[in-house]
């Protein structure tokens, strides 16, 4: 199996998304508040994964422009949820860098009342799978 | 007991009933037999004591075909069977005058024998009126005492309650005998490994002599002709060469009465080899209770039986492997 294919499969595994379900309606891009700042648009995330070009996705500006607002996740009629795909790509990057991500069980112990709520919610969103 | 005999005489004499179905004193202290009494005079042999374990509901199938009403003495657990038979149109309520007789637990002669009692001449303490805690037994080999509870049938230890589910009148006080949980034994087996389960039942069923006593005594096994007596299924009611037949017979029998079995315990009472046959029926009852909601056959005469009923959300058969 090629490295590219492996990466694409990893994305599918982390996100739990089957990109083949996409019918290319574009509702994700229509819903995205960061659309204009993205080089690769939300509806394109899907085809990048299908085409096994995770590399470009990982190196894109979009990767860090996605707000994880999950509007696309909520509205996607096909259960494809591009927000989850880009989140998975981010996970990959994070994992590659330090390999020090937390397991969800560890979070409660690290809770600090000073921590901003936003951060917690964001963390839980990522780990809720 | 005289109270019951007097009442029976009254009802016979005033023409309310044409006969009395009860028990007749045996020729040994522990073997009264089910009997029909057609005259007030014959009632002198009537007996009702701790050894009157037989469930008379089944005899009412034939009695329902006779002219006139039959006075039938039913213990609390027997009334469930009677209700179930009404539901299945096998007995005629109008043909029965039911005297609900109280129950202080029924005795198992085998349990007495297993305590080393031999050569029995007389037994004291089994009378319904006594409510004794002990049985005094005179034997050829001397006097023995056995605690009443230690001589009781298994079913009485897990009694469903002393309430008559159907009756015209009630006679005699009952005494609570329940001191165990009905499904404990089933749960214990469920927890065994498949090999242990297999060994347990293999050992028990290897004793089976295919006498069909369990079937013939069972009020739910009231078929005019049992499938095991018919050549339609090519299944024998007699002994076969391979031990498979016993398993087949007991599983199918339990399945046929599933949802209809009131757990009256007669099968285990009559088995000459002491096979705990109720463990089959109770397994089904436990499963039905757990999977489809509590159901007690014979509680009433009109509810839908679990196997002729369903819900859209019923458990899938794969649950059997998942329950662990």
């Amino acid at each position: 199996m090629s490295a590219k294919k492996k990466q694409a499969e990893l994305i599918e595994e982390i996100s739990g998304v089957n990109p083949l379900k996409c019918m290319k309606c574009g509702k994700c891009s229509a819903s995205c508040p960061s659309y204009n700042e993205m080089d690769i648009k939300p509806h394109q995330f899907v085809s990048y994964v299908i085409n096994e070009d995770v590399e470009s996705l990982v190196n894109s500006a979009s990767l860090w422009k996605c707000l994880s607002c999950f509007a696309c996740v909520e509205r996607c009629p096909r259960d494809v949820k591009p927000g989850k795909l880009i989140d998975a790509a981010r996970q990959m990057v994070v994992r590659q860098k330090e390999q020090t991500y937390l397991s969800p069980d560890e979070i409660p112990e690290l809770l600090d009342p000073e921590l901003p709520q936003q951060l917690l919610v964001s963390a839980f969103r990522r780990y809720r799978r | 007991m005289q109270e019951l005999i007097n009442r029976a005489k009254e009802l016979l004499n005033d023409g309310t009933v044409a006969r009395v179905l009860g028990w007749k004193a045996g020729d040994l202290p522990y073997n009264p037999e089910p009997a029909f009494f057609e005259s007030a005079e014959s009632l002198k042999d009537f007996v009702y004591n701790g050894f009157c374990g037989a469930n008379l509901s089944k005899y009412m199938i034939e009695a329902s075909k006779l002219e006139g009403k039959t006075l039938v003495c039913l213990k609390p657990c027997d009334t469930y069977s009677f209700n179930q038979l009404i539901k299945e149109h096998r007995v005629d309520r109008e043909k029965a005058y039911i005297i609900g007789v109280g129950c202080k637990g029924k005795l198992d002669i085998e349990k007495i024998r297993n305590q080393g009692v031999k050569g029995i001449e007389s037994i004291e303490g089994a009378e319904i009126g006594d409510g004794a805690d002990e049985l005094k037994i005179q034997t050829i080999y001397g006097e023995k005492t056995v605690a009443y509870a230690d001589a009781m049938l298994e079913r009485c230890h897990v009694c469903k309650g002393k309430e008559h589910k159907i009756y015209d009148e009630e006679i005699f006080e009952s005494k609570e005998t329940k001191d165990g949980e009905r499904f404990d034994e089933v749960s214990r087996i469920e927890k065994m490994s498949p090999a242990e389960k297999f060994a347990f039942f293999q050992k028990e069923l290897s004793k089976c002599i295919r006498c069909n006593a369990c079937r013939n005594v069972c009020p739910a096994c009231s078929c005019r002709k049992c499938v095991f007596d018919s050549n339609k299924f090519d299944s024998s009611q007699k002994a076969n060469v391979d031990s498979f037949e016993e398993k087949m017979f007991h599983i199918i029998r339990a399945f046929h009465v599933a949802g209809r079995c009131t757990d009256c315990g007669e099968c285990s009472r009559v088995c000459p080899q002491g096979i705990p046959l109720h463990l089959f029926n109770r397994k089904f009852i436990k499963d039905i209770d757990e999977l489809y909601g509590e159901y007690q056959a014979g509680d009433d005469t009109d509810s839908k039986a679990p196997l002729t009923n369903y819900t859209f959300e019923d458990a899938e058969p794969s649950i059997v492997g998942k329950r662990g």
């Binding site: 379900k21 019918m23 290319k24 309606c25 574009g26 509702k27 994700c28 891009s29 229509a30 819903s31 995205c32 659309y35 204009n36 648009k41 509806h43 509007a71 509205r75 009629p77 096909r78 259960d79 | 075909k65 539901k87 299945e88 149109h89 096998r90 009231s222 078929c223 005019r224 002709k225 049992c226 499938v227 018919s230 339609k232 299924f233 090519d234 046929h256 009465v257 209809r260 839908k304 039986a305 196997l307 002729t308 009923n309």
Partner: protein
């Protein structure tokens, strides 16, 4: 002992390439009862069938096993062949050595071994087969149509024209259905009412057609050819015979606050009302929920103004029981509830409407008398946005997984009509795909783009945001230009998914007709029997079977009519002889079987039996073989084994089990 012939089919190379057919035939001769075995290229061919017939005659065969394709394919063929040769058709069994063997196994030895076992099982079964005679049941020459829309009307007209009595049961006060709510129809743009109304009139005037409006089917029993149906005629509170349809009562009615169903709740109607001007019958109904007389006991104005004296406050629901030979379901559709699509702001703004509501807006008889205006403030819109696929093609449970089929075309129609009548209005359509398979359909859509300048943008809308200035901000994306679009619109029209009429589930249960996960009625065969339900005598017309447009609906309505006529034309029906029957001597009369019979085919009788010399009256189960469909639920429920199923008897199935396990 039977004399069985075994016929092994090569099916060209379909079977013969993986199964040693000669060996199967050879092995067949070893089986008890088998006196003849042969193999042949195509058993289903005329020559193959002739071989079977010859063997029946020459070898005096009493039973036949054909080792071939699935019985679902050719069982009927071989049974007919046997029957022509004088053998009871139910003495034929099929061993499926194609679908269940040659097509799925590659190794010849293995496949042959399995084919032999399948053959043995079939032989073992035939050894126990008995000749069965189909029963006969009468056919009531009358059809019931459930639903009075265009599908129901067309089916009724076609059946009635063939000379059979037809009753239409319509739930609402008038026939006409969805089509009566439409303004124009695609792709010809003719006026919907102009083509529908004459059909409505024709139906009501037809001497063979009887219409029950404001009525519902309450109960169905019986079976193909002989259904008994209870119809509830809801109390109209108006005497149909006396009413002249003058309309004064509706004018004078003081209660005018009830939302008009016909206009999709966009305006109100009086408590006594006819849904629309061309309603048939033109007899109003009192909505007892809205009527002051019914609510307070005071008023009675309609009664006072009615010169015909037709108002009857005392009228009660009436149950009519009628017999039918065939039933056609034509219950149509509704649009889905949009509450799960809050992003489109349907509940937040009056100016976000469904396409069906737009039909009413565009219609001269509608709430705006045909003027295109915003429902919030009555202003003429300048920017209109159409959103396609709202709730259709949706993988989650918010919407429907299927394509609603009609939306692309009616949206093109709406866009075109608006651009035609109001050239200064800009029309934008957000689409995912534009689907136009159909005669003159794509041309129609292209005209909207090329001739009328409708702006089609590929990309679903993400959100509609009502603005403080009353405008609607539409956030979409243009996938082809790769840009996000924010557009201020005056009105947004949602091409809402359609779904089967919610009542269909209840009706399907009454008819024991199956429905799929989307509540569409299932057809007997997706390709070959598209207008029949798998339940005999039940036919499907219109959208109740699946999304379709008017021409398709009318075509299917005609097809359903033909199928119903085919049934009604028969005097007698042959019934499936594979039914349950009870052995009187074994029956306990316990009612267990009755409790599981889905057809109410089992009843109990007190009957005298002679049980080996014992004569007594017993309560016995009796199966009505005309009602019994042969599922076999009773056979397993029966504790004594008295109940058995012909054609699939206990002994036959056991023989198959034995043959497979040996």
């Amino acid at each position: 002992m039977q004399r069985i012939g075994v016929f092994v089919c090569h099916c060209g190379s379909n079977i013969a390439a993986t199964v040693d057919v000669a060996k199967v035939a050879e092995m067949a001769l070893m089986e008890p009862g088998v006196v003849h075995a042969e193999d042949y290229q195509y058993m289903c061919s005329e020559a193959g069938q002739a071989k079977i017939a010859d063997a029946i005659h020459e070898k005096k065969l009493s039973g036949i096993v054909v080792c071939s394709c699935s019985p679902r394919m050719h069982e009927a063929t071989f049974r007919k062949a046997a029957e022509r040769a004088g053998l009871n058709p139910y003495m034929v069994e099929i061993a499926n050595i194609r679908e269940h063997c040659s097509w799925i196994h590659k190794d010849m030895e293995e496949a042959t071994k399995k084919a032999v076992i399948l053959m043995r099982a079939a032989v073992a079964k035939v050894n126990l087969n008995t000749p069965l005679q189909p029963g006969e049941s009468r056919v009531t020459k009358r059809a019931l149509i459930i639903g009075g829309g265009i599908a129901g009307i067309q089916t009724a007209l076609d059946i009635a024209d063939a000379g059979y009595e037809v009753d239409i049961v319509e739930k609402t006060p008038s026939i006409g259905g969805r089509m009566s709510q439409l303004d124009k129809t695609f792709p010809t743009l003719d006026c919907s009412a102009c083509i529908l109304t004459p059909k409505m009139v024709e139906a009501s005037a037809h001497e063979k057609i009887n219409i029950y409006t404001y009525s519902e089917v309450e109960n169905v029993s019986g079976f193909v050819g002989d259904f008994t149906v209870d119809i509830r005629k809801k109390a109209r509170s108006v005497d149909m015979d006396k009413c002249t349809g003058c309309g004064v009562c509706q004018e004078k009615c003081p209660s005018k606050k009830a939302p008009s169903e016909f206009n999709r709740g966009l305006n109100n109607r009086s408590a006594i009302y006819t849904p629309f001007a061309q309603a048939i019958p033109n007899v109003p109904v009192i909505d007892r929920e809205a009527c002051i007389k019914f609510k307070t006991g005071k008023c009675g104005i309609c009664s006072k103004v009615c010169q015909a004296g037709a108002i009857d406050y005392e009228q009660k629901d009436e149950i009519i029981t009628e017999k039918y030979g065939a039933i056609v379901v034509a219950t149509g559709f509704d649009t889905i509830n949009l509450e799960k699509y809050d992003e489109y702001a349907y509940s937040q703004s009056k100016d976000v409407i469904t396409s069906l509501e737009l039909e009413r807006v565009m219609n001269a008889a509608g709430p705006t008398h045909g003027h295109l205006e915003r429902l919030s403030d009555g202003k003429a819109p300048k920017e209109m946005v159409f959103i396609q696929c709202v709730g259709s093609r949706c993988a989650d449970d918010r919407g429907k997984p299927y394509c609603s089929k009609i939306c692309c075309m009616y949206t093109a129609k709406h866009a075109m009509l608006i651009r035609d009548k109001y050239p200064d209005v800009n029309v934008t359509v957000f689409y995912i795909d534009v689907r136009t398979p159909g005669k003159n359909f794509d041309e129609f859509y292209r005209r909207a783009v090329e001739q009328y300048g409708v702006n089609y943008i590929k990309g679903q809308v993400g959100k509609v945001i009502p603005q403080p200035n009353g405008k609607l901000l539409v956030q979409g994306s243009d996938l082809l230009d790769n840009r996000q679009i924010l557009k201020e619109a005056d009105m947004v029209v949602l091409a809402t998914a359609i779904e089967p009429n919610p009542d269909v589930r209840k009706i399907a249960t009454m008819l024991t007709a199956s429905i799929d996960t989307n509540n569409f009625l299932t057809e007997a065969h997706a390709k070959l029997r598209p207008v029949e339900s798998p339940t005999a005598g039940i036919f499907l017309s219109g959208v109740c079977q699946g999304p379709k447009d008017i021409p398709e609906t009318v075509a299917q309505a005609g097809a359903a009519a033909v199928k119903a006529i085919g049934l009604l034309a028969k005097d007698k029906l042959l019934t499936n002889p594979c039914t349950a029957h009870s052995d009187e001597l074994l029956c306990n009369g316990c009612s267990t079987c009755e409790n599981v019979c889905p057809y109410g085919a089992i009843t109990y009788e007190d009957k005298e039996v002679n049980d080996h010399g014992i004569r007594e009256v017993r309560r016995l189960a009796v199966v009505n073989s005309a009602l019994c469909q042969g599922c076999g639920a009773c056979t397993v429920a029966c504790p004594s084994g008295a109940m058995d199923l012909q054609g699939f008897s206990n002994r036959q199935i056991i023989a198959e089990v034995d043959a497979i396990c040996r």
